[in-house]
């Protein structure tokens, strides 16, 4: 056989080779060309007596078969002499198989010190001495193979073998460290835990079983581990009866307690399930890997603290379930009425807040933005969904402050997905302040607004945490207010307001209010806020335009009763309007530290990215697929939680051929098929290029430069993806073999051209209002590429005409795609932005292209 593993030139020492396993190892190694020192003391299996007979017989057998061997009769406790014997006989030593052993089985209470000590000396001290004597030679020649013999009894324990179990697992520890010390020196050390019918096992196993467990079923592993082509070192293998398998350590995911807190036995009792949970196990293979979670915990810094009512660390780590809500003009109108809008139905500016067919368009009152976020919190709380670490009842919560920032004006209707979390917890001494942040995303995944609900948790302070911001915000200046608005609140206002979602009986039920210590139901704090924002918009926002409101902040200080009269005082400070709202006739400031920030001009809505049409195709079976890779990435992220801290980015991969969409959420540390969150960075590339990238064969930057990788969103975030190449290929293979989650198909969208519709609408608009195009003062041609439609607008000299042709000379021709014309007509894109993106080409004079806004809101 040409591919036989041979040992020519190698010298092996096999201890305890006169019988059983050792004999089989020696015969196999010798038959493959090794020169063997057959060591055997020739003693009894319990350690007494000695004879040369056993070793001599094995040597004779080897020589008879044409091999080379010498017999050695030393005790392994004289390991140095055995090695000297090998050097004298053969001039070197390459292989040491520590096999010699004895048994002194007895139950522990009967075990003598001699039983203990004898086992230790033969197994542990003997293996040490033989290996130690050979070690320096192996180091000098930069080659060596050592095998230790352990046992299942050591790994798992076995009745009556306390001494033996100790010794056998001791050898594993010795082997693990020698594997590391030998690593740079060409020396490999492994441990086997064999089961075989030998003199030692006759005492514990039934006869029939021993017959099936031939030593010859173990020796091939020893020979392979001792061969120069075997890469293994530091391994532990169970072997016998035809079975060969490697063992490793497995560690439960475990429970981490943040440092700096008192750790009590009770905490451990409570966390015991996690301490022993092997569902999310890791497989540490070195001291470094063993220390990883501990170091991570140290790096995570000290605990933020807490007490019986609130656990700050748990609360900050908690993520509320995502919820989706919708609103439309009806909700906006009802809300506006709830906060007293259009009390005078002839007031045109207020009518715009409640009348969806208003000739100048319907305008949402911006403070409505608070409602979906607060309602989301309330409805989750009602279902009992509260953050981890909130160990108190709802009765302790007071709504202290509210803050809201809009990314653009509220649309007149929307479907919003809310991501809510506890952003911070502050220790204000007696009470705790909790900042509950809600980010609301619209249907295209764009962030619409961020709300902060600052709740006071009564009596939950004093845990020694951060005090957070101290002092007053938005303190009004000393001067007289720049504007003052006074308005009476109708007696049934709370009943109207509560229809917007806050069902607390305190605002409706006189009996309940009485029980809570009020003479009658009180007005919602957020209702008072709505009044104040209306006042600010009316008196201080340029043109009274609610769309200019960028953000608001307010503290709810004192209760208001329906029927009270509110006085809102306002001061303009930069781009902010500071305000406070008092109750007329009482010395109460109901709303304090209020501020409304204002945009200089109304921001434009962002265009939604056009989803790509595609034909989903199933990935081929029996291949490592991107699905398997994502599954492995998921495992990798779980094993490297620091990535979440470090990268904190949500990526979406849109793969093509076969098409699939994946979300790699490095904020939550999760990987899932489909679009599960709003991505910070979207990458579009072929499945094949993605696989190349993961394998390290393709460089993302080069793919990008060649245009094969399209990135949108935060381009820079894509550079943080280099960790993908660190994902273990074995994990990928394992994931491919197991059930990987099915990839989600990319959404399929078909559209029909709109150019004709746009131009017809333009014709209607121009005929209804010829003055519209006058300031264009030019002849303009709009050329729509693919599917090919052209309109020529002649607007010079006070005459306006629109023709669906490209006849005659014009000052300016603009070209764009049908899709972009649609965006322009819907007001989703501006002409400038299209021009900057290279998607709107302008030939001839530029000025008319500046005025393409006359196309907006056509469809």
């Amino acid at each position: 056989m040409t591919d036989e593993l041979r040992f020519e030139g190698r010298v092996a020492i096999v201890t305890g080779a006169g019988n059983g396993l050792g004999r089989a190892h020696a015969l196999l190694l010798a038959s493959r060309g090794a020169r063997v020192v057959v060591n055997d003391l020739g003693g009894a299996m319990t350690g007494g007596g000695r004879s040369s007979q056993a070793a001599d017989q094995v040597v004779q057998q080897i020589i008879d078969a044409g091999g080379e061997a010498v017999a050695d009769y030393e005790s392994v406790e004289e390991g140095r002499r055995i090695v000297e014997h090998a050097l004298d006989a053969f001039g070197r030593v390459d292989i040491v198989v520590n096999n010699a052993g004895i048994l002194r089985d007895t139950s522990f209470h009967k075990m003598s010190e001699e039983d203990w000590d004898l086992i230790y000396r033969v197994h542990v001290l003997g293996s040490f001495r033989v290996t130690h004597a050979a070690w320096s030679h192996m180091r000098d020649q930069k080659y060596g193979r050592v095998v230790m013999t352990a046992s299942a009894a050591g790994i798992y324990g076995n009745f009556g073998q306390a001494n033996y179990s100790m010794a056998k697992l001791g050898l594993l520890g010795l082997s693990n460290t020698l594997a590391q010390e030998g690593a740079g020196k060409g020396i490999q050390v492994n441990t086997i835990a064999p089961i075989a019918g030998s003199r030692l096992t006759e005492t514990v196993l039934p006869k029939e079983l021993i017959d099936a467990l031939k030593p010859e079923y173990v020796s091939p592993l020893v020979a392979w581990l001792c061969h120069e082509s075997c890469p293994e070192s530091g391994g532990l293998f169970e072997v016998g009866g035809g079975y060969f398998g490697k063992l490793r350590w497995q560690r439960a995911a475990g429970q981490m307690f943040r440092l700096g807190r008192t750790m009590r036995p009770e905490d451990l009792e409570k966390a015991w399930a996690a301490v022993t949970d092997f569902e999310h196990a890791t497989y540490p293979a070195s001291v470094t890997e063993s220390l990883t979670p501990i170091l991570d915990n140290i790096n995570a810094g000290p605990s933020r603290g807490g007490n019986d009512l609130i656990d700050v660390d748990a609360a900050l780590a908690y993520r509320f379930p995502k919820r989706t809500t919708t609103y439309d003009e009806r909700d906006l109108s009802l809300y506006a009425l709830g906060v007293g809008a259009a009390a005078n139905p002839m007031d045109d500016s207020e009518l715009q807040l409640v009348y969806e067919l208003h000739q100048d368009g319907f305008l949402p009152l911006p403070s409505y933005g608070v409602i979906p976020a607060v309602n989301n919190f309330l409805s989750l709380a009602k279902e009992g969904v509260l953050p981890d670490g909130f160990n108190f009842g709802l009765e302790r919560i007071l709504h202290g402050e509210q803050r809201m920032t809009l990314m653009r004006p509220l649309p007149t209707h929307a479907k919003l997905t809310h991501e809510m979390r506890v952003k911070d917890v502050f220790d204000k001494g007696k009470h705790a302040f909790v900042d509950i942040e809600t980010k609301s995303y619209d249907e295209s995944g764009e962030l619409l607004m961020v709300n902060s609900l600052i709740a006071v948790i009564r009596g939950a302070g004093g845990f020694g945490g951060s005090r957070g911001e101290t002092g007053e915000r938005n303190t009004p200046p000393a001067r007289e207010p720049d504007a003052v608005v006074e308005e009476a609140v109708h007696a049934n206002q709370a009943l109207l307001y509560r229809l917007s979602g806050d069902w607390n009986p305190l605002h409706a039920d006189p009996g309940f209010a009485k029980a809570m210590g009020f003479d009658r139901p009180i007005l919602h704090g957020l209702c008072t806020m709505g009044y104040a924002v209306r006042h600010v918009v009316k008196a201080m926002v340029p043109g009274g335009d609610p769309r200019l409101v960028h953000g608001l902040e307010v503290r709810m200080s004192k209760s208001v009763f329906p029927g009270d009269t509110l006085i809102t005082e306002m001061w303009k400070e930069g781009d902010r309007i500071l305000f406070q709202t008092r109750v007329k006739g009482r010395d109460d400031i109901a709303l304090s530290q209020g501020a409304v920030s204002v945009w200089e001009k109304i921001p434009e809505p962002k265009a939604a990215p056009a989803p790509k049409a595609s034909e989903p195709a199933a990935p081929k079976a029996q291949e490592v697929t991107s699905a398997a890779v994502f599954s492995a990435i998921g495992a990798y992220i779980k094993g490297h939680p620091e990535l979440v801290e470090k990268i904190a980015t949500i990526y979406q991969f849109q793969l093509t051929g076969p098409d699939s969409v994946w979300t790699l959420d490095l904020k939550a540390g999760a990987v899932a098929p489909g679009e599960t969150g709003k991505p910070d960075c979207t990458l579009r590339l072929s499945d094949a290029d993605f696989m190349g990238m993961v394998r390290g064969e393709k460089d993302p930057q080069q793919l990008f430069m060649k245009g094969e990788l399209k990135i949108s969103g935060n381009i820079m975030a894509s550079q943080k993806l280099t960790f993908l190449q660190k994902v273990d290929p074995k994990e990928v293979a394992a994931a491919a073999a197991s059930t990987a989650p099915a990839p989600a198909a990319a959404p399929t969208v078909t559209r029909s051209p709109v150019a004709k519709q746009v131009f017809e609408a333009l014709a209607v608009r121009l005929s209804a209002n010829p003055a519209l195009g006058k300031d264009l003062q030019a002849d303009l041609r709009i050329h729509v590429q693919e599917p090919g439609a052209t309109a020529t607008l002649r607007m010079k000299d006070g005459r306006v005409s629109l023709a669906f042709d490209d006849a005659g000379p014009v000052q300016t021709t603009v070209s764009l795609t049908d899709e972009d014309l649609e965006r322009l007509a819907k007001g989703e894109e501006t002409a400038k932005s299209l021009f900057m993106h290279g998607r709107l080409k302008v030939e001839g004079a530029m000025a008319p292209a500046h005025r393409l806004s006359f196309l907006s809101n056509l469809i």
Partner: protein, 393 residues
């Protein structure tokens, strides 16, 4: 009291394509020898060295000047993207001006790779990330060379604002090639017609291939010294630095969603203003300008940033020929970055070299008549802009 900084000597080597040059240390040493010879100083008289380069491992500066001598003097390696050369000059000036040294050597060099600039360290945050974000918001990111997208985008915005013809950008390259044809140190010595520039492949509308500076290898050096040192050397009327200013990005670079401002318009405008104020002169007093024409679009923008023409009138300035011989100014008589080449670390020092020759009347066929005041503009994304005014008594 601050001291005057004289440019006692300058020197450079002929710029070359990647692969066709000597290694960086040879190029740098040759340029330094030329500058020292021009100044009449030996390396033993140099008290400090400021060595500028962008691409290379640490301490390339020492490797280069060790070719000249091993005198144990301080060597500072300087890296400030495309404005590296003039940043090194500025550090040298500060040393002289502050009385910390009598004579220093400034050497800029670059051994570039073929192809467009790219990010060398993909494993960490990119320093131009804020700039990218502006581009991403305004025009998206294409697969072309990043620098061309940034400056090309600024060109697009300029077109949008002023309706500028594409040919106007191209005409700047025609002018640059015309100037470079008379510069033996330039990488390109052949003239190009407007048609040829327009017909070259489009890189990023409105920029075509011939409107982008080429990757270049080269080196340039200058010897700076105090008045006392110059006197000792018998230099009767050396060129000196009348004013100099460096600016870095302002809020407007990132927060006004303007590509023009993102690529450094306000940095340039502000640095120029400081220089004019320090020197008590205006742009009308200047005859010759070396400005940072990495792309034609940036030359057009820079006319306005430096005040060579009113804002929005760059197109007229080009077609009136006010950027060349016979017009109001001669911009980039050397051929500029477009045609002389742009070895990043060397560019700022090479601009200085050209202007010193111009002020001494040694620019031969390229000589600008009556050159008394010369302005230098050197810009790096990331960013920094150095504007320097040179004169002679």
């Amino acid at each position: 009291m601050t001291r005057r900084t004289n440019v006692l000597g300058v020197g450079m080597i002929k710029f070359a394509k990647p692969g066709a040059s000597d290694d960086y240390h040879v190029m740098a040493a040759n340029a330094a020898r030329a500058a020292m010879q021009d100044a009449g100083v030996s390396y033993e008289e140099i008290a400090q060295v400021y060595a500028g380069y962008v691409f290379g491992d640490s301490t390339c500066g020492q490797r280069a000047v060790y070719e000249l001598g091993l005198t144990g003097i301080p060597v500072f390696n300087v890296n400030n993207n495309c404005s590296t050369g003039s940043t090194a000059l500025m550090l040298g000036r500060q040393a002289i001006e502050g009385g910390l040294a009598e004579c220093v050597l400034v050497v800029g060099f670059e051994q570039m790779e073929k192809g467009a600039l790219s990010n060398k360290y993909a494993d960490r945050p990119n320093p131009v990330e804020p700039h990218f974000n502006v581009m991403e918001r305004n025009q998206g990111v294409d697969s072309g060379p990043f620098a061309a997208q940034m400056f090309g985008g600024a060109g697009r915005e300029y077109r949008w604002l002023h309706g500028t013809k594409r040919e106007t950008f191209a005409q700047i390259s025609v002018k640059a090639r015309k100037h470079a044809a008379k510069n033996p140190y330039a990488i390109f010595n052949q003239e190009l017609s407007l048609e040829e520039v327009m017909a070259s492949p489009q890189v990023f509308d409105p920029l075509t291939r011939y409107q982008c500076c080429p990757p270049t290898c080269g080196a340039a050096a200058a010897v700076l010294c105090s008045d006392e040192f110059a006197k000792k050397k018998g230099a009767s009327n050396p060129v000196y630095i009348k004013a100099q200013a460096m600016t870095t990005d302002y809020r407007s670079s990132f927060h006004e969603d303007s590509m023009i401002k993102m690529v450094g318009y306000d940095m340039a405008k502000s640095a120029a203003k400081k220089v004019y104020e320090q020197a008590g002169v205006g742009p009308e007093d200047i005859q010759v300008v070396e400005l940072h024409d990495c792309f034609t679009a940036n030359e057009l923008l820079t006319y306005e940033a430096l005040g060579l023409c009113p804002e929005g009138e760059g197109e007229k300035f080009v077609w009136d020929g006010d950027n060349s011989y016979g017009g109001k100014f001669v911009t980039n008589p050397s051929g500029g970055l477009l045609s002389k080449g742009h070895p990043l670390g060397a560019t700022g020092v090479a601009q200085c070299t050209e202007l010193v020759w111009q002020l001494r009347g040694q620019a031969e066929q390229r000589q600008v008549d009556g050159a008394r005041l010369a302005l230098q503009h050197n810009l790096g994304l990331g960013g920094a802009c150095v504007v320097t005014l040179y004169g002679r008594d």
